[in-house]
């Protein structure tokens, strides 16, 4: 799997652990030396719902990190895994927890308008399109690594299934996701801008990376390169996971240059 982008690889790692759990009825993370939100978010329900079957990492730092991100209260360096509320007023408060990751630097991630726009479109999409019963977010800033990871997961219908429901079916599910990013919408023709706005701001604006995994398809964007992936049955996701990896660069950017 050496040619697979890191973010996508982190998701595949979560699949391997889930697969092992299904075979052994143990979620064995003993050997884990590090874990990213993209791996942890899809596994979080397994950890929370099976405490007697969960074997935490031997590495205390990693074990402690998992506990913190599952049940911590958050700060300007991380957003703990939490469910997006159904009540709209509470949803706005949940968004503030993500926006807080800018900390004291108003120009981080392109500045307030830029960053908030990037994140808001992804969150709004969940409520507008996913038909999910649960949606979760998590984020982590890695000062030493020079980037921050943001993860959003919903257990909804998936992008390919949603498009299929409205008469759009393609040769593989990676293409469905690509079409959605390129603006195909199941709603009015003047909709369908949200996902592409977020991708453009993240990748062209901030030189970050975005992985979108949904059903049996995935797409990955990085500066000057993008690919579609056919995950097949083994790596499929019952829902949609969007992972962003954004450099910790402090520079105010004009979102309108990327959202024309």
């Amino acid at each position: 799997m050496s040619d697979i982008p890191e973010l996508l690889g982190e998701y595949l790692q979560s699949c391997i652990y889930a697969e092992n759990f299904n075979e052994t009825q143990k979620l064995d993370l003993q050997e884990l030396g590090f874990i990213f939100p993209t791996t942890l978010l899809p596994l979080s329900d397994l950890i929370i719902n099976n405490p007697d079957k969960y074997i935490p990492p031997s590495n205390y730092s990693v074990s402690n990190y998992i506990s913190t991100i599952i049940s911590g209260s958050g700060s300007n360096t991380y957003v703990p895994i939490n469910q997006l509320p159904t009540d709209e007023n509470d949803r706005n408060k949940a968004l503030q927890a993500i926006f807080r990751l800018q900390g004291t630097d108003p120009n981080l991630f392109g500045g307030v308008s830029f960053f908030n726009l990037l994140i808001s479109e992804l969150i709004d999409n969940i409520f507008e399109h996913s038909e999910c019963t649960t949606a979760k977010i998590a984020a982590q800033k890695y000062q030493q690594k020079g980037y921050a990871d943001f993860c959003i997961f919903d257990n909804g219908i998936t992008i390919p299934a949603k498009l299929k429901k409205h008469g759009y079916e393609f040769d593989n599910q990676g293409i469905s996701i690509a079409k959605a990013v390129n603006g195909l919408s199941t709603k009015d023709k003047d909709r369908g801008f949200g996902l592409q706005t977020s991708v453009k701001l993240s990748v062209d604006g901030l030189k970050g990376e975005v992985s979108i995994i949904s059903g049996q398809g995935a797409v990955h964007f990085q500066p000057n390169n993008s690919n579609m992936y056919n995950l097949g049955d083994r790596w499929k996701l019952n829902g949609t996971l969007i992972s962003l990896r954004l450099p910790l660069v402090s520079e105010k950017k004009d979102w309108s240059q990327y959202a024309k």
């Binding site: 808001s120 479109e121 706005t197 579609m228 309108s256």
Partner: protein
């Protein structure tokens, strides 16, 4: 006058917030409504699009005040027939995993 920051949030993120705003506005007895955007720090495209759609069909006369340049830009963007961008080549072969 309605303060948008107090009525919704300083960050206008969700499409449903715009829908809810106009559901509230449209049931008010006043025919002229002033919406004060003071303190609003960000706006999503989705919110702006829903706002503009609802504004068009509202039976109220709406006056917006204290719009930042960012908010104005976003409203102009959603009104002016934006073009969708092709960010990924859909004809490229998908990589099998």
């Amino acid at each position: 006058m309605i303060s948008i920051k107090d009525q919704i949030s300083k960050d206008l993120a969700l499409r449903s917030s715009a829908e809810k705003l106009f559901a509230y506005i449209n049931q008010l007895s006043d025919t002229k409504i002033t919406l004060d955007f003071s303190g609003v720090t960000s706006i999503s495209r989705s919110f702006a699009h829903e706002y503009v759609q609802n504004r068009r069909t509202s039976n109220k006369e709406i006056l917006e005040i204290n719009l930042s340049s960012d908010i104005k830009k976003m409203f102009e963007l959603v009104v002016n027939n934006p073009q969708k961008m092709k960010l990924i080549d859909e004809d490229k072969e998908a990589i099998e995993i």
